[in-house]
């Protein structure tokens, strides 16, 4: 029982990280109608930036995280301006290939600078006691280290807890931003009809930049959480979570923001539970199998809307 809870919580935690990344995919798809396959590598850049900042002696953890977010945000906007904007009216395939090219560019730049070996990432909450420890037959301990020699039947690490809380706060903030602010409404309008949005006086290019900025900032946040939970970083760190988050976005219905959140969390839970109960080697295969089944049953994903065009 306790082990199930532990798997489930870890799954939710991993899933919240996927959800943060998936939000970037889905928002960019919704607004620029393109799949930004370089999004996963933004995570890697975020991870390395925070890693580098933290290894300098003077830089405190919080500042390293801020630097990571700023670098990713700027990078996302610059990539859009340099690589994607000139292709605004090009066929989707050209944009897709460009995105893959940007992805390889970032990976190879990282290879050049950091080398191919994985490096140890120090968790941003290193040294802190676990969030929750349950010892057999005793009251649960919060934020406390279990006495040495005792045997814990359930431990939820600080990293796991932090991932869930941070993701939740970010998702609530993002939902409020989109539904309550003028800039958020402008994003929804651009997602639906760029021309009509322009006729309202909305700066479409500005809105697309803002979307890339937000998506990349979320990717940076995800990178910090992910590298803290799974404390390694290499130039390929971003690719698998990137693909999984893309699956999560499709799973939830690409273009749908709540869909990305639900898809991400579900994916994380499915992955962790299959690792625990079926096979850790097959867990990725199971994740993709579930995607295929969902798409066969509901081609638009869980929350994806059918497009009805009224003429």
């Amino acid at each position: 029982m306790m082990s199930f809870v532990s798997y489930l919580v870890n799954g939710i935690s991993l899933g919240s990280i996927y959800a943060l990344i998936a939000l970037g995919y889905t928002m960019v798809y919704g607004i620029a109608k393109m799949l930004n396959f370089a999004h996963g590598d933004i995570i890697m850049v975020g991870g390395f930036t925070v890693f580098t900042a933290m290894s300098t002696a003077w830089c405190p953890v919080w500042l390293s995280v801020v630097i990571g977010i700023v670098v990713c945000t700027v990078l996302g906007v610059v990539i859009e301006k340099v690589a994607y904007k000139p292709l605004r009216s090009a066929p989707p395939l050209a944009v897709l290939i460009t995105a893959i090219g940007v992805s390889y560019l970032l990976q190879n730049l990282a290879l050049l600078i950091f080398g191919s070996a994985a490096q140890n990432f120090t968790s941003i909450v290193a040294g802190m006691p676990p969030f929750l420890t349950v010892l057999d037959g005793q009251a649960p301990l919060f934020f406390a280290t279990a006495p040495s020699g005792s045997k814990a039947i359930l431990t939820i690490s600080m990293e796991t807890f932090l991932s869930i809380v941070v993701s939740l706060v970010i998702m609530i903030a993002l939902t409020l931003f989109i539904n309550k602010t003028k800039a958020g409404k402008a994003m929804l309008a651009v997602a639906e009809d760029k021309g009509a949005a322009q006729l309202m006086g909305i700066n479409v290019n500005g809105t697309i930049s803002l979307t890339f900025a937000i998506g990349s900032a979320l990717a940076a946040a995800a990178s910090v959480l992910m590298c803290s939970s799974y404390p390694q970083i290499s130039p390929y760190t971003g690719s698998m979570p990137g693909i999984k988050a893309f699956v999560a976005a499709v799973f939830g219905g690409i273009g749908s923001i709540p869909g990305a959140m639900i898809g991400g969390v579900l994916l994380g839970v499915i992955e962790q539970l299959s690792k625990a109960y079926i096979s850790s080697q097959l867990s990725d295969a199971i994740v993709f199998l579930v995607l295929i089944i969902v798409l066969v049953v509901r081609p638009t994903g869980i929350l994806g809307k059918k497009i009805n065009e009224k003429v």
Partner: protein
């Protein structure tokens, strides 16, 4: 000086010359109709005026500025609104949200609230449906929403593209009445219509377009009695 003045406008779609050197003026307070068959270039002209399509040559002077050199999103705040063909309301958003997007470039909250009230007075049905998503409205209601949304920017001139398209005859008459009311309350109207009869019946002046050129222009009443117009566009 005319409020909106178009001079030698040429527009291309790739190699295709859609607008072949058109000039016309719109004076303050007028209703001007652009009529013509499908593919004559009526919609392209409106799209070029509000910057959705780029011009190859020529100028579009409005408020002392050449709109061909102005970014599309800055045109609304200069006092020009565009009700696009096919209405293009934001289907996923509510009626209220659509209207507020119409006021996107305005800052003063009290003035926006005032405009909203005016729009609701003109289109009571929109007030009844304010929390409904725009995609669930009927065609006529969507047309009203598109017009209301344009009015929310408090324009001095409003461009309307095929407002009667796909509507029942009852709605068509209602929409044309509303266009006249909007004009009477001080807004200049540039109207593109395939329903030439209706358009000429409310317009002051009109221009007849054929494959990217103006072939005829004059007082709407005169054009209504013109034999070639009668034959080609009025079905008489």
């Amino acid at each position: 000086m005319a409020m909106l003045s178009i001079e030698n406008l040429e527009v291309y779609y790739g190699a295709i010359n859609a607008i072949k050197g058109i000039s016309f003026d719109v004076e303050q307070g007028e209703i001007i109709a652009l009529i013509g068959a499908n593919g004559a270039g009526k919609t392209t002209i409106l799209h070029t005026i509000t910057g959705l399509v780029g011009a190859k040559r020529g100028s579009i002077m409005f408020g002392g500025k050449d709109l061909t050199k102005t970014s599309a999103h800055k045109i609304v705040s200069m006092g020009m609104a565009h009700v696009p063909e096919g209405r293009r309301v934001f289907a996923q958003l509510t009626v209220y949200e659509n209207l507020m997007l119409g006021a996107y470039t305005r800052k003063d909250k009290a003035e926006i609230a005032e405009s909203l009230e005016t729009v609701f007075k003109r289109f009571p049905r929109l007030e009844e449906r304010r929390t409904q998503s725009a995609g669930t409205l009927s065609g006529g209601e969507q047309q009203m929403l598109a017009m209301g949304r344009a009015l929310m920017s408090k324009p001095s001139i409003i461009l309307m593209d095929e407002p009667s398209m796909g509507l029942s005859p009852l709605y068509v008459s209602e929409i044309f009445d509303i266009i006249q009311e909007i004009n009477k309350s001080g807004t200049t109207v540039l109207l593109v219509e395939q329903n030439a009869k209706k358009a000429l019946s409310i317009a002051n002046r009109a221009y007849v377009l054929e494959t990217g050129k103006i072939v005829l222009s004059g007082d709407a009443k005169d054009l209504m009695n013109d034999d070639s117009v009668k034959k080609a566009y009025l079905g008489e």
